[in-house]
Amino acid sequence: MESESESETKKRWRCNYCPLTLSAATTSNASTHLRNAHGRTEAGKLPTNQTTLEENESKATVNSIVLRKLIVEWIIDRRHSFNEVEAESFRKIIEYIDKAAVSKLPHSHNTIRSDCLKYFNKAKGIICEHLSTARSKIHLSFDLSTSSSCKALLAITAHWTSNDYKAEATLLAIRELEEDHTGENIAVIIYDMAKEYHIVEKLGYFMMDNATNNDKALKSLNSQIQTDGGVGFDPIETRLRCFGHIMNLAVKDLLYGPKKKGKRRNGDIDEEEFVDNEEENIGEDESEIKKRTETEKKRWRALGAVGKAHNIVKWIRGKPQHRQGFLNQQVEKLKRKMVQADNATCWNSTWNMLDTFLDQRERIELYLNSVPELKDDKLTNSDWEDIETMMTLLKPFKMLTILGEERGTLYGSVSSILWGFDMLLDLLETERKKTRPEDAPFQRPWMHPGGNWINIIRRPINVRCILLPRCWIHA
């Protein structure tokens, strides 16, 4: 038996053999429990005060409470199944280290489950306490994502200034959204969560991506709060837009040119234009697939150097033989490195792809010469130049992304957004003046199709107008 001292007034005995806790007002409770439930007679050894307890603990080799905490931490950290503790092979390891410790292991996955819930609720209480002493309002950030098991999950994080003036952030909840992804349904989840953490009247700003259902979620949340008699908040003023998402859009314009007119609607800007259609190919006959991939390839090629690079990477990574063929190109003093693939969701992947291209230029050129299927995607000298220019242009975006994602520095705070934008615009403008001779037709293929520098520049400015609806009336 050990005494749990959460507070001096509510001291309780915790049994080492089961999750039971008993009043510490007297020692007889504890000894009776031990005798009856576990057939032990430890009455004589029971600590009568704190000093003897510590002595006992220092002699004990394995403390069952600590052991159970460690097991829960391990299971959560490594995402193990709860019944891992039931496995004979696992218990053997523990037994080998300390024979006596085996008896202290939880016996079933149910114990792990209840332990998890217990620690979760304690942690939740601690977070509630921290939130209640905040020097700021509680700002929320949330994002909806579909998990691999096709569940729509809403992750909500809190951001606040702590009692000792530090910017803090923590995860509050991951909840499943079972119904449609409408703003109203999102609002219901947020409201429930806010009530659980007692922050309904303390809600500050909201940081989210550009999706329109987020706007509706805030409006709906506000009206729900007001219906219940709460003060509520200003759903337009408090709605902030994620700088990362906006940069992502600007970069995509840079890489592929702006979207065609008519396709773009306000708030819709998160949709992906270039989706790999591989899954849709199932059930089609081979010639269909071939036709499809050919059009796909053409579409990419039309985007210029970056599009060609995409086609090359897809080819090389597509088959093990191609991979080997690529890596086997002997280039002196060049490390053997696979080219990175890009994906539609994150421009950082395109950055990585282009980065490996510049790094592996010689190998790629050799390989392109040896593969006739890639003749249309062959990179010319001006293509390589384009890639280099592109990388130079993307560098500040990359830096701001890294800084914004960094934890523990205040670069990640909202005060970095304005100068971040201004800096990017400034750099792009400078580059435009440098690259584009007055009124000359655009020569760089990546400024096609339909896109030109002016549009590219204007796009982030448009985004800025969305950002600051009230301040940009003059713009």
């Binding site: 905490k69 951001h159 952030a169 940081m207 205040l410 990640g412 909202v414 971040g420 950002l467 600051l468």
Partner: protein
């Protein structure tokens, strides 16, 4: 909000906008800052909120009797009758020479130190500087990062 946050960085203040923004937008910038400031001022006069309390040492009986206003004699003509926001904006901007110092600069720390001089602005700053610039934290959850702050994750603390 973006404007307010930028203004409250003591290294940028209004100077940033004068330097980087078009002249005809500046009026709007100032109006936005002023509105926010006034909102917080109004809040302070409602009984609900507790402004940062300055704990003064207990006054002696003599001073409590208000025989003579020492502060008025001492500071009377030196103190300009400007409000907090104007004083803040007129004060020179904070200059940190090394880029390391700029990287390490924590506006929350600065406002903590200057809360006595600019109590209302400090309250705005404490509120604003914990707002993130991106929604990366919830996204981290999905990309498999552990998001829990170490102090909470450490079960020994529980």
């Amino acid at each position: 909000m973006y404007i307010v946050a930028t203004m409250l960085d003591p290294r940028m203040k209004y100077k940033y906008f004068e330097e980087h923004w078009r002249k005809d937008w500046l009026k709007e910038v100032m109006r936005k800052m002023r509105t926010t400031f006034n909102q917080y001022r109004v809040e302070e006069h409602t009984p609900d909120t507790t402004p940062i309390s300055i704990t003064a040492p207990t006054k002696s009986r003599l001073l409590e009797n208000n025989l003579f206003d020492i502060h008025k004699w001492r500071f009377g003509n030196m103190q300009q009758n400007e409000d907090e926001l104007t004083r803040y904006l007129n004060a020179p901007i904070l200059v940190l020479e090394s880029s390391d110092a700029n990287d390490a600069f924590d506006p929350l720390e600065w406002w903590k130190g200057n809360a006595m001089e600019y109590p209302t602005l400090a309250r705005i700053a404490f509120n604003v500087f914990s707002i993130p610039s991106m929604s990366v934290e919830p996204e981290r959850v999905f990309s498999g990062y552990s998001l829990i702050i170490p102090t909470y994750a450490n079960l020994d603390a529980i």
